[in-house]
């Protein structure tokens, strides 16, 4: 009996530190990600397609696309959808984000990216501030992490120059849904190239 008790206490004691991934590891973890990505970008020999594939493998492990889709649509709209609609929307939204990012990569020349600051906002939120340096000018990019169900730190939003990506989509989606149906929103997400022409 005593042994069981001891074991129980021991597991209780150990459970916490074992579950949590050290937050202090985030900067080094992200720096190594950034370095890997920069190396992939600098290596002009890698064909475009393979390059984005490699980069997205890294992204998939740190971005919580489902939560991002949910937040960009807003809780109320999200819960009103069926599971299959949610899945379809998430998929399209993930594509949209990736295509947008890939287009940004075309502009990449020789920018440097450095990690500036790690700030704990509250228990389950961390903001990682990075600086992108281009032609002597500094652009601030903040990656926002949250602790998910499995105690992994995942990115749910990115602030570029003070503009939240999720918020940007959220206002647009709300605007579309105020005037049109959910299926037309899906249609718009499918044509990533042009902002859909206005119906008069």
């Amino acid at each position: 009996m005593k042994r069981i008790l001891a074991l129980l206490i021991l597991t209780l004691l150990c459970a916490h530190p074992l579950l949590a991934i050290e937050e202090s590891a985030i900067p080094t973890f992200m720096q190594s990600n950034i370095d890997t990505i920069t190396n992939i970008l600098r290596d002009k020999k890698i064909p475009q397609e393979e390059r984005s594939k490699k980069i997205f493998t890294i992204f998939d492990s740190i971005f919580d696309y489902t939560l991002m889709s949910q937040l960009s649509l807003g809780g109320k709209q999200w819960t009103a959808l069926s599971t299959s609609q949610q899945a379809e929307f998430s998929k399209l939204f993930e594509m949209k984000l990736k295509i947008s990012y890939m287009e940004k990569l075309d502009l990449y020349t020789n920018e440097k990216m450095v990690i500036k600051n790690l700030e704990k906002i509250k228990d389950a939120r961390i903001h990682l501030t990075t600086h992108l340096i281009k032609n002597n000018e500094v652009y601030e990019i903040i990656y926002k992490f949250y602790k998910d169900k499995n105690n992994n730190w995942m990115i749910y939003d990115v602030d570029i120059l003070g503009v939240s990506i999720i918020q940007t989509y959220r206002t647009q989606f709300a605007d579309v849904l105020a005037k049109e149906s959910f299926s037309s929103l899906l249609e718009k997400l499918k044509q990533p190239d042009e902002p859909a022409p206005k119906k008069q």
Binding site: L5, S100, D106, L107, Y146, K149, Y169, V176
Partner: protein, 249 residues
């Protein structure tokens, strides 16, 4: 013994339920984080007009400004265009100085003055940004809209201006005050302090400045615009968030 065990077990369950509760809460947290600027409580009385003006401005950019800027870029080498851009930025020094002073940012005001003196002389009328390149003295962009925001004035509703693009009530007040400090505007009331002789020259100078600046950023802007699903809310959100950020700095 069993009792202690039971206690411990229930304790661990308590911990677990605590945990479940916090994760359930966190989705509310997320909602709260993005709710503040959501459409439902957004005051946008001019949305109809704004949307139309956004489209007009976009057409103006696509069919007039962009081709002009690209043609200009074709004949003017990038180095010259950077020089022109530096020249104008140097001219706008009074706007930055006054607004830095109004916001009590004395160190920044001093740096702005250093930049102006160095760039106007060694940088040959500001064409070269000597202070930035050699001495790493950065510019501190402030305008009167930011000054008003600094003293707590809210942004008011969003207004899309012809040609100028996205703005809001506060920033329109800001623009009209900054015009007094802007050397390339012409204001009769300013009398001899005017650098240019008449409104025509002022418009020409502003147009030249705009075409030159656009020519340096066509690629970025086009790329940025591709992200839009609905152009008006996209630009409105970008503008308002960006201004809030600039004011907070």
């Amino acid at each position: 013994m069993r009792f202690i065990l039971a206690c411990l077990m229930s304790l661990s369950f308590l911990c677990a339920s605590d945990y479940i509760e916090t994760t359930a809460h966190s989705s509310d947290d997320f909602e709260a984080e993005f709710q503040s600027t959501n459409n439902e409580n957004l005051f946008d009385p001019l949305s109809g007009y704004n949307e139309v003006m956004t489209n007009i401005n976009d057409k103006f950019y696509e069919y007039l400004l962009k081709p002009t800027a690209q043609g200009y870029a074709y004949v003017m080498p990038q180095m010259a265009r950077n020089g022109v851009s530096n020249f104008f930025d140097n001219l706008f020094f009074p706007i930055r100085l006054v607004n830095n002073l109004l916001q009590l940012k004395f160190h920044n005001s001093l740096q702005e003055t250093e930049r102006f003196v160095l760039n106007s002389t060694m940088g040959i009328l500001g064409f070269r940004d000597v202070a930035g390149e050699e001495l790493n003295i950065k510019t501190h962009d402030e305008d009167f809209g930011q000054t008003l925001g600094y003293y707590g004035m809210g942004s008011g509703f969003h207004v899309v201006l012809p040609f100028f693009g996205p703005s809001n009530v506060r920033d329109i007040v800001g623009i009209s005050v900054d015009m007094w400090l802007n050397p390339i505007t012409y204001l009769e009331a300013r009398g001899d302090a005017n650098l240019l002789d008449n409104t025509g020259q002022a418009i020409a100078a502003t147009a030249f400045y705009t075409v030159n600046k656009t020519s340096l950023h066509v690629k970025e802007y086009d790329n940025f615009k591709k992200d839009a699903i609905e152009l008006y809310p996209f630009l409105r959100n970008f503008y308002e968030s960006r201004r809030d950020k600039l004011i907070s700095e």
